[in-house]
């Protein structure tokens, strides 16, 4: 094999690897989220975050607008402090927007859904979302249901 064709083959090999890497970076790992233009950060405290994980999506009306960047436990209030990064500066939310922890599908991962309020002022970088709803924990639901059924029974009897 001539020198020229060997060098050509090696060049093709390297290009192929670079293309594969680009494909992996953007299509597979969704790196575009990290190369966003600006954006701003918010925080929210929850009593119970359920199975919420880092990098979980944050959506408004089902549209992803950001992701969870950090989850820590506040040592004094024992609440979960969740930090959120909003991807775009253009997504402006009123200051009375509420945050709720929802589940994708029936068994899916947790994510944060934001329901916009009606106030004229908008969140600024570093603001905290005041109204939060914790995740629904299955065991609590079941005990609630059992409790309410037994209540109904005894109630209807008496």
């Amino acid at each position: 094999m001539g020198r020229k064709s060997i060098e050509f083959a090696v060049g093709v090999f390297v290009i192929l690897a670079v293309l594969a890497f680009v494909m992996l970076t953007f299509k597979v790992s969704g790196l575009t989220d990290y190369v966003s233009s600006g954006g701003y950060d918010l925080s929210a405290d929850f009593n119970n975050i359920g199975g919420l994980k880092n990098n979980a999506p944050v959506s408004v009306g089902g549209v992803k607008v950001g992701q969870v960047t950090d989850i820590t436990l506040d040592p004094t209030t024992f609440q979960a402090k969740v930090s959120i990064h909003m991807n775009s500066d253009n997504t402006k939310l009123p200051v009375d927007t509420s945050a709720r922890i929802l589940t994708q599908g029936l068994l899916g991962a947790n994510y944060i859904g934001l329901s916009p309020g009606g106030m004229p002022q908008n969140f600024k970088n570093g603001d905290q979302i005041q109204t939060t709803y914790s995740a629904l924990v299955l065991e609590n639901l079941i005990s609630q249901y059992l409790f309410s059924t037994s209540n109904k029974k005894s109630g209807s009897q008496s």
């Binding site: 020198r3 690897a17 594969a20 992996l24 970076t25 299509k27 790992s29 599908g105 029936l106």
Partner: protein, 260 residues
């Protein structure tokens, strides 16, 4: 009984001795940096024989592995109604584990054994000796380009393997089994992290590349210069490389998962 203990001790010392020799060899190879002008064409030639010639087996294997993981994954996920998670299942298993490890094993079997056999043959036919006699250090003319080619090619091959595997899984999952294309990619993107998953996978493949190339090159260089010796050295390369890859994979995974 005493003899058994004695031979165990002797064997252990022998192993330590051999690792020491391997260390000295690689140290001498790395320390004597060759003149770039003369060494570059040698490197290109080795990138060709080590990397380009391994492409076919990597691409074919990658395709099949991706397809099998998608198929098996689907069969299990469908029982939970969770087929939307096929994308993450495929991507995470391939990027984190199957990509670097299977590529490493295939690389050890195809390229590693070829390197050992080639170097061993050069040793047996006295080519390395005559090179030294003419005044050229075989460590930098023969060993060094092959070692560096292996280290460079492994991550490149692993990346190609991962990409092909995911494409293969896409074909099976979306085109054949009917998983929604949008869900496939979006759930994959939200679960695969660039830093923890992709970069760590690439780091793993670099480590495997260093280990396999080192073992392959050392076994060839140190083999008994007969036909039988070359054969045994080649087998040793494949076995030791495979064990090292699997062992290191566990260690690296533990380190990475533990958050280093």
């Amino acid at each position: 009984m005493i003899k058994r203990i004695q031979s165990l001790g002797a064997n252990t010392l022998d192993v330590v001795h051999k690792i020491g020799r391997a260390g000295v060899m690689i140290f001498r190879t790395l320390v004597r940096v060759p003149r770039p002008v003369k060494a570059f064409p040698l490197l290109i030639q080795q990138l060709y024989s080590v990397g380009v010639l391994s492409l076919i087996i990597i691409i074919v294997s990658g395709g099949f592995i991706g397809m099998v993981v998608a198929l098996q994954g689907y069969n299990t996920l469908v029982q939970f109604g969770a087929t939307s998670e096929l994308g993450p299942l495929l991507a995470l298993s391939v990027v984190r584990e199957l990509g670097p490890v299977v590529t490493g094993l295939l690389f050890a079997g195809r390229a590693g054994s070829a390197l050992t056999a080639e170097i061993g043959l050069m040793k047996a036919t006295e080519q390395l000796d005559s090179m030294e006699m003419i005044g050229v250090d075989p460590l930098w003319r023969v060993i060094s380009p092959r070692f560096w080619a292996g280290v460079i090619c492994m991550p490149l091959l692993a990346i190609i393997f991962i990409a092909v595997a995911i494409l293969g899984g896409y074909v099976v999952g979306v085109d054949w089994l009917g998983v929604d294309s949008g869900t496939f990619w979006s759930s994959m993107q939200s679960s695969v992290s660039f830093h923890t998953d992709l970069l760590n996978g690439i780091i793993k493949s670099v480590v495997f590349g260093v280990v396999v190339s080192w073992i392959a090159v050392y076994q060839g260089f140190d083999c008994y210069p007969t036909a039988e010796g070359i054969g045994r050295a080649t087998t040793r390369t494949v076995v030791y490389s495979s064990l090292a890859i699997l062992g290191l994979d566990f260690v690296l995974t533990a380190m990475m998962m533990g958050g280093w």
